[in-house]
C-alpha cells in the first residue's frame, strides 16, 4: 500500500513538475502562430525526455553517479569544462526566466509591477533550497503544479472541434503567411522546452538525493513513462487553447497574461485562479530545480560534496554556487530584460546544447562497469541513436535558423 502511494505520488509530481515557464511560453506562442501544426514536436520531445530521464535515473540509481559525473568521466576534464560552461550558462538563463515567471504570475494576481516581487521570490527560492528537505520540496511543488490540469479541463469544457485540432496535429503543414524557417525555429523551441538539459541534471541528482536503490528502478520507470507524457498533455492543452482563441484573432502573445486568456474565457474566475496558482507553482518549482542544478553541475564537475541530504555546512561550495546563481538570476531579471524573451532564448539554446548531455548518458548506460546487468536494452539503444542523430541535426541547425528568422520574429 505504502509502495503504491509512493508510486502514485511520484507520478503526480512528475506531471506537475513537467511544465515550466519554457513550456508555457513555447506552447502558447506556437499555438497562436502555427495552430496545432507543431504538436508532433511535443510528442517527439516527450518521448525524448522519457528516454533520457529514465536512462539518467537508472545510471544514478545503480552507480550512484549523477549526470555531470558522467560528463566529466566520459569527455575528460577539458571537453567537460566547455560542456559545463555551456550547460551552466543555459541553466542559469532558465533560472532567471523562472524567477521572472514567478514574479509575473504574482503580478497577474496583484496587478503590481513584477519587478517589485523579484527580490522576494529570489529570497524565497534560496530559503527553500537552504532549509527544506528534498522530497518535501519536490512533492509540494509537484502537487501544486497539478493545478495546471485546469488547462485541460478548460479545453474539454469548450467542446472544441476535436477533429479539427487533431487534423491540424496529424497533418502538419506550415500555415499561410508563415515561412518554413520560422516554423522550424519554433519546432526547435518546443523541443528545447520539453527536453531542457536541467531536467536530467535534476532528475539524476534527485535519484541520489532520495537514495534510490535497485528496488526503486520500477518506480523510476513508472514516474517517467506515465508522469512525463501526462505532463506533455498539459503542454498540448496550452497549445490547443492558444489555437482556439489566439490564432484566429491574430494575437501574437508576448506576455504570460495572454497564456491565461483561453482558460479564463472557458472557466471564469475559479479556473483563472487555479491557473495562476499553477503558473506560480510550476515556475517556482522549476526555479528550485534550476537553482539546484546550477549547484549540481558545478559540484559534480569538481567533485565537491553536493546535495540536500547533508547539512548545508557539509556541502558549502554547492550551497555557495546555488545561492550566487539565484541572486545573479534575480539581478538579471531586475535589469528589466523581458523574462519572456529570456525564456525564448533559453529554450532554443537548450535544444542546441542537448547532445552535450545526452551522449555521455547514452554511453555510460551501456557500460557494465557502471551498470552491471542494468545496461540499455537493444530497443532503448536504437531509439537513443535516433535521438542522438536528431539532436545533432538540431544543434547544427539552431544558430543559423536563429539568425535567419531573427529569433523567430
Amino acid at each position: 500500500m505504502k509502495r503504491l502511494l509512493s508510486v502514485a505520488l511520484g507520478i503526480l509530481t512528475a506531471i506537475g513538475g513537467f511544465v515550466d515557464i519554457g513550456d508555457i511560453v513555447a506552447n502558447t506562442e506556437t499555438g497562436a502562430r502555427f495552430g496545432m501544426s507543431l504538436a508532433w514536436v511535443v510528442v517527439v520531445g516527450v518521448v525524448g525526455i522519457c528516454l533520457f530521464a529514465e536512462m539518467a535515473g537508472r545510471v544514478a540509481t545503480v552507480s550512484g553517479r549523477a549526470v555531470f559525473d558522467l560528463v566529466r568521466e566520459r569527455l575528460g576534464a577539458r571537453l567537460a569544462l566547455v560542456n559545463l560552461l555551456a550547460s551552466f550558462f543555459i541553466t542559469f538563463l532558465t533560472l532567471a526566466a523562472e524567477i521572472g515567471g514567478v514574479a509575473l504570475a504574482i503580478e497577474l494576481a496583484t496587478s503590481v509591477n513584477y519587478l517589485l516581487f523579484v527580490p522576494v521570490v529570489a529570497v524565497a527560492v534560496w530559503l527553500v533550497i537552504w532549509r527544506v528537505k528534498f522530497d518535501l520540496m519536490e512533492n509540494v511543488f509537484g502537487l501544486l503544479g497539478l493545478a495546471l490540469v485546469v488547462t485541460a479541463v478548460a479545453l474539454w469544457r469548450l467542446h472544441p472541434d476535436w477533429g479539427g485540432l487533431l487534423g491540424g496535429a496529424v497533418h502538419p503543414a506550415v500555415p499561410q503567411g508563415e515561412g518554413h524557417p520560422s516554423w522550424w525555429y519554433f519546432a526547435i523551441a518546443l523541443l528545447g522546452a520539453a527536453m531542457t538539459p536541467y531536467e536530467v541534471f535534476f532528475f539524476s541528482s534527485g535519484a541520489v538525493e532520495e537514495g534510490w536503490s535497485r528496488a526503486d528502478l520500477i518506480t523510476n520507470r513508472l514516474n517517467v513513462y506515465i508522469g512525463f507524457p501526462l505532463g506533455g498533455l498539459l503542454s498540448l492543452a496550452l497549445m490547443a487553447g492558444a489555437t482556439l482563441f489566439l490564432e484566429p484573432r491574430g494575437i501574437e502573445p508576448g506576455h504570460l497574461s495572454q497564456a491565461a486568456l483561453p482558460t479564463m474565457l472557458a472557466l471564469g474566475k475559479l479556473g483563472l485562479a487555479v491557473l495562476l496558482l499553477g503558473f506560480f507553482a510550476a515556475t517556482f518549482g522549476a526555479a528550485l530545480e534550476t537553482g539546484l542544478s546550477c549547484g549540481y553541475s558545478i559540484a559534480q564537475y569538481f567533485g565537491f560534496q553536493w546535495g540536500k541530504f547533508v547539512r548545508p555546512a557539509d556541502a558549502p561550495r554547492f550551497h555557495l554556487v546555488a545561492m550566487v546563481a539565484v541572486a545573479a538570476g534575480a539581478l538579471l531579471v531586475l535589469t528589466t530584460l523581458d523574462p519572456i524573451t529570456v525564456t525564448e532564448y533559453s529554450i532554443v539554446l537548450s535544444a542546441a546544447a542537448l547532445p552535450l548531455t545526452y551522449l555521455p548518458i547514452l554511453v555510460v548506460a551501456n557500460d557494465p562497469d557502471y551498470m552491471g546487468d542494468k545496461v540499455n536494452s537493444r530497443f532503448t539503444n536504437a531509439l537513443g541513436t535516433v535521438y542522438l542523430l536528431l539532436l545533432g541535426v538540431v544543434a547544427v541547425a539552431t544558430i543559423p535558423l536563429m539568425v535567419l528568422t531573427k529569433a523567430g520574429s
Partner: protein
C-alpha cells in the same frame, strides 16, 4: 612525474618517426604492498594512436554494449591504436617520449577486461 606528463605526449622511435600520441596508460596492480589498497599500481605500458577523439568513451573494452552507431564511430576513431610496453621507453621529455626500436613493430593493445 604526473600522469598528465605522459598523456598526450608524442611517441618517437629511434629513427625519429612518430608513432602517435599517448591516449592512455595501462596500469597493473602487482607492485609492492601499499596500505589498505594491497599491491601498488605499476605502469605497464602506453596506448598510442593518431586520433584521440572518442578514446574516453570506453568502447575498446569487449564488455561494452551499443549503441552500434556510437560503437562503430568510436572504433573507427581508434582503429590505429598501438601498444608500447614500458621497457621500450628510453627517455621522457616534455611532450615527447623516445622509444627503442621502430614504430612499425608496435603491437596492437590487448583488449582489457
Amino acid at each position: 612525474m604526473r600522469l598528465t606528463d605522459l598523456l598526450g605526449a608524442e611517441v618517437v622511435d629511434q629513427a625519429g618517426r612518430s608513432a602517435g600520441k599517448v591516449h592512455d596508460v595501462r596500469l597493473v596492480q602487482d607492485g609492492p604492498l601499499v596500505g589498505g589498497f594491497g599491491a601498488a599500481l605499476r605502469v605497464d605500458g602506453l596506448i598510442v594512436g593518431r586520433r584521440a577523439v572518442g578514446a574516453r568513451l570506453g568502447y575498446e573494452r569487449r564488455t561494452m554494449g551499443g549503441p552500434l552507431l556510437v560503437k562503430l564511430a568510436a572504433g573507427w576513431l581508434r582503429h590505429d591504436g598501438r601498444y608500447v610496453a614500458w621497457d621500450r621507453v628510453r627517455a621522457i621529455e616534455p611532450d615527447r617520449i623516445h622509444i627503442s626500436g621502430s614504430a612499425d613493430d608496435l603491437p596492437r593493445p590487448a583488449a582489457p577486461q
